[in-house]
Symmetry: C2
Subunit: 333 residues, 2 copies
């Protein structure tokens, strides 16, 4: 249910309005409704999760510069990442293409190649879709994931709303490289290997279920940026969070290549599609010992003190260096 | 998986290409893949079905003339109709809105009102979605339906590919009124009550499961038009079909109001969103006695004789009056 790119207060306000405006789903088996990475419904022994994310030309990518295979990959990746954030495995996807007049068959073919590549690697094969004429290209994907409740002691989806004061905040993977990739593209420079995750993000399909199995109850994927996504957790959980800059897992190449930019990119760059989570310290230790993905403690959850701000970033000296959370909002442009 | 409006050979060719191009879904529980009204996957005691349909401004509606509440209704209706065509009940929906800059909150609100109205009446409550900036308004809905296999002797979804020579062809409801509604709109005239199904189609949510429970194996919803949708069945089932014009269930008001147009509208108008099905005569009789919806025999299925044409319409004198199946194709315009 998230879209890539950072700081979408306008969109979030609209989604909140939508959630408030529509009648609540009257479904006895509904486990999670509007407002998290996915909705979730009990289906016999399974809990299935559902998400949809759309990429639009001129908003989420530029047809002038995009690699079409990468675009196909990314259109699926952003959805699979929402499934991972619930602790679920991908089941299948539906792909809708909005195609402008004259869009070449070669480009379509490349998009399919990218879709094939990621679903072959990470799951979520395409079982259907729709093709419509559109003014500008868009790719809208609906994805279904699943948790087999018979195989785990912790079948409940991880939620944005489950953070508790005293939790440690963790990251499953590193951040900042995707934002760096975008900087290279904007500057007309080739994207180095270490920043290719911007073009082909690799969602945490193993980490998500493994964190849930370890007992983690709260997670979100990093799409809008660390500070913004952590703020979503704080908002839904009614807690505050503190992040230690020095603890952030950032690729060495980013530190070396963009020494003046890494901090901003790590905090607000977004689109890393790694998992941000919170849990009690003992759960973190247990998860650390079972996950293949490297986990990093980056801060802690506390009682919410102010209605204004709920995420604080501190540097090694303990100084508050929290960046503004506002910024790019594709609905207000 | 269908879009409204008639005769979409270009789109069908693209969907076929997509189906052939993508690797087949390697899912042990997959029951129906790409190419029918929905895909279907076994989920414990349920068979869940999945579809997605998108309405785009300038293609499927005109923002200058559309009633926004009706648009919200229709965006869900076209998806629920695909679920009915499989013989499933709606479970829930995801709604993606592509919104142009400056789109008014009042209009958005009206769209939500229409969505609320149909989901309250027919099911499929919204559990999530996405909102993105777009050049032209679009509404993309993904819908999930379900068959509880414990409650029926006939749990298998109805398919386009299950027609068998000797089957009778049936319609659950009447056709032509939606096409008439569009004629009134095009002519700048008010749409009479009997043609309001064009603006607020009422998919066969009761008829679908009831037909499946009665043992019907083959169905499709009338979106492209009777001749075109029957041709889809024939294509997938590798059979031929004959329709008797005199047998078609057409509203009396249509016959009276548009005496020179009803035949064309009934055969090719489309968007009636009633169910077209085929089954052995004894199944038809049994269905007739249990369904509340009026069923009408309109023709029969036979061996396929020609690769060229598989649907024939005959009048009372037995003369062949089959209309051309080509026509409007929103991808080739």
């Amino acid at each position: 249910m998230t879209t890539p790119h950072s700081q979408r207060q306008g969109e979030f306000a609209l989604i909140d309005e939508l959630a408030a405006r529509l009648k609540p789903a009257n479904l006895s088996d509904l486990i999670v409704g509007i407002g998290d990475d996915c909705s979730a419904i009990r289906r016999g022994p399974f809990i299935d999760v559902y998400t949809t994310d759309t990429l639009v030309d001129g908003v989420h990518f530029l047809s002038e510069t995009v690699d079409w295979e990468d675009l196909g990959w990314k259109s699926i990746a952003v959805n699979l990442s929402d499934i991972a954030a619930m602790g679920a495995k991908p089941l299948h996807t539906l792909v809708t293409l909005g195609i402008p007049a004259g869009f070449s068959a070669n480009r379509l073919n490349s998009i399919y190649t990218g879709i094939d590549a990621i679903t072959s690697k990470l799951g979520g094969p395409v079982t259907g879709g729709d093709i419509v004429r559109a003014e500008k290209l868009f790719i809208s994907v609906a994805a279904v994931g699943t948790i087999d409740t018979r195989l785990t002691e912790h079948p409940h989806p991880m939620l944005r709303s489950s953070a508790i004061p005293g939790d440690v905040i963790g990251l499953a993977g590193s951040i900042g490289a995707s934002g760096a990739g975008l900087e290279f593209i904007k500057g007309g420079k080739p994207v180095p290997e270490w920043a290719q995750v911007h073009n082909r993000p690799i969602p945490g399909m193993d980490a998500g279920p493994a964190l849930r199995n370890a007992g983690v109850r709260c997670a979100i994927d990093i799409s809008d940026g660390l500070v913004a996504d952590l703020a979503h957790i704080c908002e839904r959980s009614n807690v505050a969070a503190t992040v230690e800059l020095e603890s952030l897992p950032v690729p060495a190449e980013l530190l070396l290549t963009l020494p003046d930019e890494w901090q901003r990119l790590a905090l607000t760059g977004g689109e890393d599609y790694v998992l941000l989570f919170t849990c009690p310290e003992d759960v973190f230790s247990s998860a650390e010992s079972t996950l293949e993905t490297t986990l990093t403690r980056i801060g802690w959850v506390s009682e919410r003190a102010s209605a204004e701000r709920n995420v604080t970033v501190v540097d090694a000296a303990g100084d508050d260096i929290t960046p503004a959370q506002g910024g790019w909002d594709h609905l207000s442009e």
